[in-house]
Point group: C2
Chain length 206, copies 2
């Protein structure tokens, strides 16, 4: 993003800004998704936000309508996009974005980046496990069984989803992501079963 | 949290506020962790933040020093904590928090809440998989192998960590969380191996 750096001194009564010719753009997983969509076809920010919602991408990463708009602005300001304003007598003005050659380079840089590092992943329910020792045995067991039921039903849902036409006939990439979620849920079901077994065996969290 | 609601009319020249007697506090996984720590022993916000860092809790959930401070303020304002100010001639004033009976009720409510729902979980590297079809075969394969190497080395590290005294001798809850991470990493290694196999078999993402 172009950033204006204000000099400490107000030279000649005019505030002086240095605008760096090229500035670093941070690595962003949202930018990767937006550039990917724009490589398929030029779109405006509104259409991108709709696509993100339609594809249920918020399941895959922390993404929302305002985040999509911000990403478009950021990529455009960093000169990684071409923008074209469409004026139509009926509809309001629209800015259509497409990826330029610098943007394409940045896309592959992001692909390289996210294929070479695993950022930490969080499961909110682990904060419950972490604090289980504050619970009485029976109460703790009831809560563990809540989690077991929740995970088992999520796994069943995911297995059904995987067999639906929209996924079964989808491209390799989509199928692999869904497969991963199914495998992880299956692992979490195994894990909670083992946790409950051990919890019962030792009569609590001792 | 107590919130002041300003009336639209300035009655009698004095601004009128309605202070609700009881207000709803949102469900927060950070509040769960903070209440859990305070149930063990009373502490000030600084000591809590240090504990979070020492226990590497940022691996488990999105938590940071400012988030800990905010949680203390929020819980205290919601009257879920008792606070006691310690004045010492040598050190600066400290506010020590402990959990009151309302706070204890809220803790169990949070435990119940997080044991009964799985929030969506995100893996940043999936945005790379999602966009793999933009890559040439050889380039895509190289990136998939990056991910394979990364996941395999994380799994090795986690297995070593699990055998270290600090984990092996830890309480049930800590051991179960570490076990879960190891099982998930093992699943992700299986998954990437299968992805690469299928990618090679069909010569790319077709």
């Amino acid at each position: 993003m172009l950033s204006k750096i204000k000099l400490p001194i107000d030279c000649f009564g005019i505030l002086v800004y240095i605008i760096p010719m090229k500035s670093k753009i941070k690595m962003s997983v949202v930018d990767l998704v937006i550039l990917g969509f724009l490589l398929n076809e030029p779109r405006n920010a509104y259409a991108l936000a709709q696509l993100v919602e339609k594809r249920n991408l918020s399941r895959l990463l922390k993404i929302s309508r305002p985040v999509v708009y911000k990403s478009c602005r950021r990529l455009n300001e960093a000169k990684l996009l071409k923008s074209k304003t469409i004026r139509d007598s009926e509809a309001p003005e629209r800015v259509i974005y497409s990826v330029n050659s610098q943007g394409k380079k940045h896309f592959y840089k992001l692909m390289e980046y996210y294929s070479s590092r695993i950022s930490s992943f969080h499961f909110e329910s682990n904060s419950f496990i972490w604090n289980l020792y504050h619970c009485e045995y029976k109460e703790g067991l009831k809560m563990l069984k809540n989690l077991q039921m929740e995970l088992t039903s999520l796994l069943t849902g995911m297995k059904t989803h995987e067999k639906e036409d929209a996924v079964a006939n989808a491209n390799f990439c989509v199928r692999m992501v869904v497969k991963q979620y199914r495998m992880i849920l299956a692992t979490k079901v195994c894990w909670i079963n083992e946790v409950i077994e051990e919890y019962i065996k030792q009569g609590g969290t001792q």
